[in-house]
Amino acid sequence: MRPLNGEYHNDVREYDYVLVACGSDYRAYQTLRKSKDFGITFKNVLIFDFEERHDYADAEMRKAYQSYEELALNIKPVTCSIKDPSTCVKALHDSEPNLHDAAAVALDISCFTKPYSFCILKYLKEQAKINHITALYTEPMSYVFAEGLFHSYHSTSGPLSIMEIPGFPGNDIRTTRKTLVVLLGFDGELSSFITDEVAPNDTTVINGFPAYAPKFKDISLINNEKLLSSIPRESILYSRANNPFETFNLLEHIFQRDSSAFINVAPIGTKPMALGACLFALVHPSVRIVYPLPTEYANITTQKCWYSWSYEIPLRIN
């Protein structure tokens, strides 16, 4: 885990591929825009263009979404649907055969939905047989709270359907109990929905702390009060919001503590924490990943950019 802050000019890292999600958040193309400053270059940019995000009524948002076209990079758009990551990654096999032979691959997780990040990572590991990737991530300066600080953050809008992320069904064979680990986010309704659906025997929550800003950890606690009041205090854990490896370690600890349980992880917290959960599920295929799939995502959920990070992710730990 290292910050991309311009102090690596003499150590330029070249990637064969970088996979980036289109988005109208400013941070969507930050690593592409600032690649020179960050000391990284990309031979091929696969940019995932989501059909659901095409019909922006707002001209500014449309412009922001399409601004990748102005970047002088070798960009190849991949048209896909937010709702169906499975079909999209299956198609990569034919459309990008060279990806399988790539020596250095990066994935910018900043604007991918979490199901997409998970599916792509599993695809890279299982199908493309890639052993290692670099995950890039740009922190938001702030989140969008439409009606004040508390209770008004929604990363998604509209109806929800709790799904297993394709390719992560886990395995409950010979387990005696069902455990749910929620990586806590601001959107309090999500955790209640997931808990009701999964109906675990016990629930553990992991809150992002230290958070990107001090208030964020409190917002997620307050917004998830109903869930928190129903679980024992010792089941409320913390992990640094921008460090996937800390989340991985914590999940490992939970797993080792009770390996007879069928562990379900709901990664509704920060993206780096979700990355840690993904790494954990790649190591332990018996772990199920559940996620609330909305009919639509909010157009802009973050404002400006804070730090950018790169994480070296080994896809084969054992």
Partner: protein, 664 residues
Amino acid sequence: MNTQDLFRNPFSDYNANSMDSKKILDYWCSPFALFKSRISERDIYQHDMPIVFMGGRGTGKTMFLKYFSYPVQCEAANQMSGGGHGNTLSFLKSNGGIGFYLRFDGPVLRSFEGKGLEPEKWDAIFTHYFELQVCKSYIEVILDLVNREQLSREGIEKEFVPRVAKKLGRLGKRVKLEDIFNTVEDALGDITSFREKIAFSKTEFVPSKPFVAQDLSFGIVEIAMETIPEFRNGIKFVILVDEYENYLKRQQVILNTLLKFVKPGITFRIGMRLEGFHTYDTISPKEFIKEGRDYTRFVFEDILVKDWRYREFLIRVAARRLETVPAFKERNLTDISRFLGKREDLQSEAADLVRGQESKTRHFDLLKHSELFKSKLDSDAIKKIQRIIAKPENPLLEVLNIIWVARGNEPEMTKKAMNEYLSGKVSSPLAKKYHLDYIDKYKLSLMILLASQYHKPKMYYSFNTFCFLSSGIVGTFIELCRRSFQYAYFEDPDTLINEGTIRSALQNRAARDLAHSELEMVNRIQNYGHNLYLFAKNLGNIFEKFQKDPLIRYPETNQFTVDASFGGDLELEDMFKTAIQWSIIQQKSYLQQQTPGGPKTDIYTLNRVFSPMYDLSYRTRGGYSERFDASYLKALMTQDGVRLRKKAPKRKTEPKESLQRRLI
């Protein structure tokens, strides 16, 4: 005193899905007294026909089904015998059956579709999966009974196991019961493995032995009945399927077929939301399931909303929870109606509301709305009436007096009626009429109207109010209590623990917060979430208009009827059914007249949990029901801020010219 959990919120366990067997028993309150003669506890095991238990979210379906499951009944047997296993089997035999509880979560069920595989192939895989899951639950129970020495291992492994092994395609000699269990688990593991792979590659599902409907769900029972003597004497295998509404339509077709062709010795008890059937079809194209012929339907809310014993039931439900918290148990504080207060005190609430206002007579402006005076009443005339009918210590009586005058009664006569009522002149017809209006008909409406005149919200508190707000949904009542206790623990713990009461302001906040939270949740419902959100909002706004009518012509109106054909719009019908399924609206159990004297029809009400958002009455009274035709209903579900399209019929008032002349 046990200091662990000393100050635990007794209502924080809200989800029966997450409760273990002991907790289910701890919190269990038998509802059969409420069910009267319709169904008995023994019927759950012994009634041959499948029974479908319907109810909104939080009505206690899961608690109910889980109670009859094997693990909970084992725990009950253990508790009866003081911890030993000696009488488990005889306990189950006395029950008349064994319950096999099956709940598949939504993510699992939804994973059996898409990913480039044809629906017919998914159907076959799901059938195979379901049969194996039922089989697993049977074997689990038999294995447990063997481990508890209730069944002879020798006998089971001699007769039962070989036949089951053959059915499962398990080869080899000296197969043990545990081997059977592992075989089933491995077969289930193959399905999970396929679900994982199909997400990234084109792969085929090739099980070592595929199972079709009934192969194991009925087949294993048949073998058990034939080979295990203890199961021969009328003990039924009761398959308890929870959350049927989560099953995809094609999956329900598969299970409907099992329901229709159920065999002797096996039956189903299905828990589902209202309108939880997505289809009545079976695999056979010409066959479908029909209520009364193939299953019995039992709706929780029908019983709970209607029966006055619902309150007693809630008191018992709450007591079971309060008893688990030492701080309350030791002080004998286990009566929820003591914490919340039995009933709201509207008179004090009204007095408090007016006392805090700069102008304490603003409600007399209501007189201006009377058609009698045709907006000609000036402030002098109002003061003139006010001097006659004033009763400052009880603003509710003042509002009633205003209504009486506005409806054409002489102020002096109104004052006389009030005074006779207050002095308890029971023989006076005038006092009787006044009593009827004040106590029986309008008291709550008077409070709502008074609060609206001062632009203040109505308060929601007391056990009685919470019972009504819960709309027959036990989970809503528990959630109202949970929030009230939570706020009280934080803001006023001394009163809560030492006096065993919760301030009405905190209860009111709990009710309001829950109303907001429930409305927000509506938005996230998987199908038509936003439409249902708009529907609830629009209904709330419309009923608010009715209930704040300045002349109380539509007291506590919160019900409506619809064009049952939905104008042939299938999507609209589906949306409407989803609104019922999620208890956003509730159907009254019997047909009623839309208006007095009108034809009987289905009547629906907005779930009263939303009442605090719109300052609506927490009760449902008969009388006027608004009728929505299909196009208007569609507008209510698709547009924001829909207003009443036409004016509701107005109540007639007797024109009294002398009164007009004298006052204007």
